[in-house]
């Protein structure tokens, strides 16, 4: 049975959006005593601080008025004999792995743009983190999109070839009182990535790192190009997505949690890249919000997918961070051993956009004994295979 669900807070907004959408906007502001630039659309308000690495100091889910970044703090310590020491606690920032990073190095704003369809800000630092890497950073928000896009370019300004490992250090929270769980798509049968040991898993799966997992620091080999967080209090998923190519061969997911507290990071350590002098490399990140999902099993295009294998049914929730036209999705089950694909049925999806969740169930077909992956294909050709759940038939 098909159901279209709209989160309560979004109902009015969505109805009104039938006739009018909300323009993107850019505003200059300040936070914790330092200038900031605020980007907003109908779903998100992102506050970025030039003095703090051009980091994302605030990310507010407007329909639910939920701030998803840890509280931003900025201060400058002054001494007679040493240069001023700015420091910051900033939720979303790019660092360089293997270095002692600054949290408050200033970025120069090289441009801003704002029109009804898109708003954005561009930063640059010629010697990011005191290195010979020039970092250009662009943050953009599009109209009617529940995703903040961060693009970066690193350029080797040294005279010699050099290797850099960028590290997205995202410390967000969906609930200030109870620790979020972080959903990590992990690659199985991996002991080491490069020279670093990682948490071993027997097979590819979604690993849920929550307060019950007592390891404070976890490195894993990525099986997908995203990592996400959930919290039962919010019915909201915040995902961090990048390009899979940039995670291979030696990229990592990294999480750190505050034992006894709520802080729980979700971080991407990109695969190291060697660049010749003057050469550059582009990266792209998205902070994606999927409203209305209670869990996330996969991101396919801009569609967030949740799936539970119920008793005799497959129960799906799907929503999108960007507007997706109505189309159908066909679900199949793939036998792990033989690779045989067995159809489970199709479902006509409504228009998907943030706040509109399409929930549907399909009956499980009769299956021979074995373990099955759940797979799907959209009309637009996009396909997905879930790491979890799996269907086991005895």
């Amino acid at each position: 049975m098909m159901r279209y669900l709209m989160t309560g807070a979004l109902l009015t907004l969505t109805l009104s959006s039938c006739v009018r959408t909300v323009d993107c906007g850019l505003a200059h502001s300040s936070t914790s005593g330092t200038p900031s630039i605020v980007l907003s659309n109908r779903y998100l308000q992102a506050e970025t601080v030039p003095a703090a690495l051009g980091g994302v100091a605030g990310l507010r889910w407007l329909p639910g008025n939920l701030e998803m970044m840890i509280p931003f703090k900025y201060s400058v310590e002054t001494h007679d004999l040493i240069p001023d020491r700015p420091s910051a606690t900033v939720g979303g920032k790019i660092l360089i792995w293997g270095r002692q990073n600054l949290m408050a190095q200033p970025m120069t704003v090289t441009g801003t743009s704002s029109n009804p369809e898109k708003c954005g800000v561009e930063f640059v630092n010629p010697y990011y983190q005191g290195t010979s890497w020039r970092l250009e950073r662009r943050i953009e928000l599009e109209r009617d999109t529940a995703a903040l896009v961060i693009e970066m370019t690193v350029i080797n300004t040294a005279a010699e070839p050099a290797t850099v490992t960028l590290w997205e250090n995202l410390v967000a929270q969906l609930d200030a009182e109870k620790m979020d769980a972080v959903i990590i798509p992990v690659r199985g049968q991996i002991h080491k990535v490069g020279s670093r040991g990682v948490q071993f898993f027997p097979e590819d799966t979604l690993f849920i790192d929550d307060a019950g997992v007592k390891t404070q620091v976890i490195f894993t080999a990525p099986a997908r190009n995203w990592i996400a967080r959930r919290n039962p209090k919010t019915n909201l998923i915040l995902a961090l997505r990048t390009n899979m190519d940039d995670l291979l061969p030696q990229g990592l997911f990294y999480v750190w949690k505050q034992m006894g507290g709520v802080i729980h990071s979700m971080e991407i350590i990109f695969s190291p890249i060697e660049l010749a002098p003057g050469k550059s490399k582009d990266y792209r990140l998205e902070y994606m919000v999927f409203a209305g999902l209670t869990d996330l099993k996969e991101i396919c295009g801009d569609i967030g997918i949740n799936c539970e294998a119920g008793s005799g049914t497959l129960d799906f929730q799907m929503t999108a961070a960007r507007k997706i036209a109505a189309q159908s999705v066909t679900i199949s089950l793939i036998n792990d051993t033989s690779g045989t694909k067995i159809a489970a049925g199709s479902h006509p999806l409504s228009v998907l956009m943030s706040g509109i969740t399409d929930e549907f169930s399909l009956p499980l077909p009769t299956l021979p004994p074995g373990q099955y992956h759940i797979s799907g294909e959209f009309d637009d050709g996009a396909i997905f295979t879930l790491l979890s759940p799996k269907v086991k038939i005895r």
Binding site: D80, Q129, G130, S195, R196, V198, I218, F219
Partner: protein
């Protein structure tokens, strides 16, 4: 310090009263059950408080007052006994320094385990009390609501995975003074609470204990009066330093060969140690990191060597003083070879370079499978702090937190340390993460171990109790005083040498850690351990800068490090010394002050408007030092005053002089209880004042000019009194390390001395007092040594070392001269084709010119009976080094070489080090170069 002790037993009717008194406080028992504290300090805003003892039987009981009955006590003690239906509480009260100490014995009278919370509180405090101190760094304003700090967990330290811990006190104060109650630092307790109830005007301090049926538990509490003139917290902690000096004592005291110097910071562990480099940089101790394969198996057992790693996360390499091995290939992964290499290297270099054996993170982390298989009872299941370690310590496998006291792991851990200490001839152990804040609740908590406490989750013992226990254990492994093992800790617990694991330039960490960490370190020696200059963080845009930027910035950073060392009484390392010889220049002063012992309270007043961002105080009484640091651009001048009543309890007035290496003079104005001096603080020059002597001052204001002349072999103070009426006073004299007090003259006449002071002498206008010290080591001035023909005009070695024929120890020591000049040759201080000094075995004493005669044991050669121990020059111009023991001769040579460095000076140039990378130095054209330095502790520059 106890000023006066009074025990009065006044029989009146059926009541009798006791009083115990220190210089600051009196505790009175009125004979009817009431105990009062009386504040004896003149300038204060409270006079009396009532003391109560209360007991809570947990977990659900309410606090109940325990009526205490006085018993006859020994002299100087008051014994009280209280009894409830369940416990017998005996308290012995006695003066302890400036405080009153309450030593309790609590006996469980029941047949079941009791969870108890004994409490001391002070009631009837003045309503004017406006601030409360709960033991952490800050003060809290007293408002209408009660304030309570429960437990000992503080802010978590992310890297360590544990938390800081409050100083064990509760205090409340008004503008001028306050009252404090507390425990004794490092005593075994796992839970303490501090509170203030403004409605009852009550200050309280309690601890939680678990008592088995019939068990008697001992614990200590304190009470005292504080003044706020130089900081409430500072005054209270200063009283602890003075009342409980044993808490901060170092094994082997001032003769400990490892703790009174700089930390090698892996220079002597990762790379081949260099004796001369170490000596010139003042290095005496090293952090010998993880010299084993599996965390938890320090001994390296056959059956534990080969195993399947659970979660290896990094290839592991160990460098035993530059000799590298690893566990990742079959060639190196050989247990016998590993054991042999480790033993050989430790036996050869361990004591020489102070290699402190890293003992599996103070016995608190164990490789996870090892712990789960062998020591499951030992796992510390505290999930509120880091539980599984995934990135260090060995970098070889995952580790899990274990508890090193009373568990199966503790037994093995202690056995291993005992065996290793002997087999490797260890100088001591390095205890990382010596923190509390991780609670053990495993099976061993059922044993009658020290420090058991309880909370809503049940019984537990804090990790700090176990680590302190292990430090006591280590100190007991070797019994001979000169062989007692040293403990090098990273943290705030017991130990002999303390590491603060952050560069001085990591200001964020210092803001977070200090002053609490510093309070705990107390007068103990220590160091910092971080990434030196953190240049990329301090100057992230350095690539945009020209050489002038570096030329301006680096000396400032270096001065900041010098000032920080003096502020905190902690040393730095080669990471910041290379290229900035100013830091090498100040080593003698920094180490001398560290030996004197950092003090928390700085009883100094300054003229209004004087800006002195850096200051510190070391030592006490006539051994006091003050450091003042003007980090601003302009000189700061003005009158400052040192409060003698805070510097000593005996009423001495101290005369100060600027601490210089050759000559200084300063006018002292002795006014009221202050010694006032007119100070001049140049920009970025550390100014140190040190005590010269002390007198018992009459009421009148006095004036005295102190002149000090210091050479290598003598120290001479001249006290010139002007414009004062005659008075009589003994002179209190310093005991200078390495010097003996030779004579005190008043107006040219020698005066008698006894017990470190003279007989009373008459001092009048124009009186001149001379105090003379002679070096115990050097019998000649430095100029004689530096002029000695070690090398000829061509820069080649031109002397011989003569040792008695067949004297192996002398010969070995003589080789130090060869090492010295090899270093000089390699560093181009002398010419490249210089020969080594020849060591010649002789059967007759012939200290001819151009020879160094080295003798141990006195009179080993005919004709040397009258040669004094020490460094002297014969009538023929030969240098003679004579010592009673090998150790003394070794120390003498070190001192001699330090003098020779004035002639054979080597400036360590900038080199790639952690925190200052080669690319920075190349960018600014400073690789292998150095900055000049200023001889600012010498009047004659």
């Amino acid at each position: 310090m106890l000023k006066k002790l009074l025990i009065a037993v006044l029989c009146a009717a059926n009541a009798f009263a006791f009083a115990l008194e220190t210089s600051r406080i009196r505790l009175v028992h009125d004979g009817k059950g009431g105990v009062k504290l009386e504040n004896l300090q003149p300038e204060t805003d409270w006079r009396h408080a009532s003391i109560q003892w209360r007991m809570t039987i947990g977990p659900d009981g309410a606090p109940a007052v325990v009526s205490m009955t006085p018993e006859s006590g020994d002299a100087g003690e008051l014994r009280l006994t209280g009894r409830t239906g369940k416990v017998l509480w005996r308290i012995t009260l006695r003066p302890k320094g400036t405080m009153i100490e309450a030593v309790s014995e609590l006996t469980n009278l029941t047949g079941r385990e009791l969870w108890i919370e004994p409490e001391i509180n002070a009631t009837a405090l003045p309503a004017a009390f406006g601030c409360f101190w709960d033991g952490f760094a800050g003060l809290r304003e007293i408002k209408q609501q009660s304030i309570v700090r429960k437990g000992i967990k503080g802010e978590q330290e992310r890297h360590v995975g544990a938390s800081n811990m409050p100083f064990p006190v509760a205090a409340a104060a008004a503008a001028k003074g306050g009252v404090f109650l507390g425990g004794v630092p490092f005593d075994p307790f796992s839970y303490a609470a501090a509170g203030y109830d403004p409605k009852e005007q009550k200050l309280s301090y309690s601890i939680r204990l678990v008592a088995a049926p019939g068990e008697t538990i001992g614990f200590r509490m304190t009470a005292g009066a504080a003044i706020t003139a130089y900081g409430l917290q500072e005054n209270i902690i200063q009283q602890y330093y003075e009342s409980y000096p044993e808490c901060w004592e170092v094994v082997q005291g001032q003769d400990n060969p490892y703790v009174w110097g700089n930390h090698a910071h892996y220079l002597n562990w990762w790379s081949q140690p260099c004796a001369e480099r170490s000596r010139r940089l003042g290095i005496t101790i090293e952090w010998s990191y993880c010299p084993y394969k599996r965390s938890g198996d320090m001994l390296i057992r056959d059956e534990l060597w080969d195993y399947q790693q659970k979660n290896p996360f990094r290839d592991r390499v160990i460098r035993f003083g530059g000799i590298q091995t690893s566990f990742t290939d079959s060639k190196n992964n050989n247990i016998d070879e590993f054991r042999k290499l480790r033993q050989d290297r430790f036996r050869e270099l361990g004591r020489k370079y102070g290699w402190m054996f890293y003992n599996t993170t103070a016995g608190t982390w164990c490789e996870i499978q090892l712990a789960q298989e062998k020591y499951p009872d030992s796992i510390t299941h505290d999930k509120s702090v880091m539980y599984i370690l995934n990135s260090w310590s060995t970098a070889h496998d995952q580790e899990i937190r274990v508890f090193p006291m009373g568990t199966s792991f503790a037994k093995v851990f202690e056995e291993d340390m005992t065996i290793l200490a002997k087999e490797l001839d260890l100088p001591g152990f390095a205890l990382d993460c010596a923190y509390g804040g991780a609670f053990y609740r495993g099976p061993a908590v059922e044993k009658q171990l020290p420090g058991r406490a309880w909370d809503e989750e049940g019984k537990f013992i804090d990790q700090s109790v176990a680590i302190n226990h292990q430090i006591d254990f280590i100190r007991g492994i070797n019994q001979k005083p000169d062989r007692k093992l040293t403990t090098f800790i990273n943290g705030y617990l017991k130990g002999d040498y303390v590491m603060a694991e952050a560069s001085y330039l990591d200001t964020g960490k210092y803001n977070r850690w200090m002053p609490l960490l510093r309070w705990y370190i107390g007068p103990r020696p220590g160091c910092v351990h971080g990434h030196g200059y953190l240049f990329n963080q301090v100057a992230p845009d350095w690539r945009n800068q020209k050489p002038e930027y570096f030329q301006e910035l680096m000396p400032k950073l270096s001065d900041y490090i010098i000032f920080s060392q003096l502020r905190y009484g902690l040393t730095t390392s080669y990471l910041t010394m290379y290229g900035t010889p100013q830091q090498v220049y100040v080593i003698p002063e920094i180490l001398e002050l560290m030996r004197a012992g950092w003090q928390v309270e700085i009883p100094m007043i300054t003229e209004p408007g004087m800006r002195i961002p850096f200051s510190a105080r070391y030592g006490r009484g006539v051994d006091s030092y003050f450091f003042l640091g003007n980090s601003g651009n302009q000189p700061v001048n003005g009158m400052i005053g040192f409060d003698n009543t805070a510097l000593n309890e005996q009423g001495w007035t101290i005369l100060f002089n600027r601490k210089m290496r050759d000559f200084a003079q300063i006018d002292n104005l002795l006014e009221s209880n202050f010694t006032r001096i007119n100070t001049e603080l140049p920009s970025r020059v550390p100014v140190i004042y040190e005590a010269a002597a002390a007198i018992k001052k009459p009421t009148a204001t006095l004036s005295c000019r102190v002149k000090t002349t210091r050479t290598l072999h003598s120290v001479r103070h001249e006290l010139a009194w002007t414009g004062n009426d005659a008075f009589s006073s003994p002179l209190l004299l310093r005991q200078l390390r390495g010097f003996k007090l030779r004579e005190v003259r008043v107006d040219g006449k020698s005066v008698a001395m006894s017990g470190g002071q003279t007989v009373p002498v008459r001092i009048a206008d124009g009186t001149r007092v001379e105090i003379e010290y002679a070096s115990e080591t050097f019998h000649v001035p430095a100029e004689v040594i530096t002029a000695f023909p070690f090398t000829d005009n061509g820069g080649k070695v031109s002397f011989k070392v003569m040792v008695p024929a067949g004297a192996a120890q002398e010969k070995t020591l003589a080789e130090r001269f060869q090492t010295y000049f090899t270093f000089c040759r390699d560093r181009k201080i002398i010419v490249a084709d210089s020969p080594e000094p020849v060591i010649e075995e002789v059967s007759a004493f012939n200290p001819a010119a151009g020879t160094v005669s080295l003798m141990i044991g006195g009179g080993t050669l005919p004709g040397t009976g009258n040669v004094p121990d020490g460094v002297s020059v014969s009538t023929h111009g030969g240098l003679v080094v004579k010592a009673a023991t090998t150790a003394e001769a070794d120390a003498m040579l070190t001192a001699l070489f330090n003098v020779m460095d004035q002639r054979y000076e080597y400036v360590f140039p900038f080199s790639w080090v952690m925190g200052l990378h080669r690319e920075v130095l190349v960018h600014f054209g400073m690789f292998n170069k150095a900055f000049p330095y200023q001889r600012y502790f010498e009047a004659k520059q």
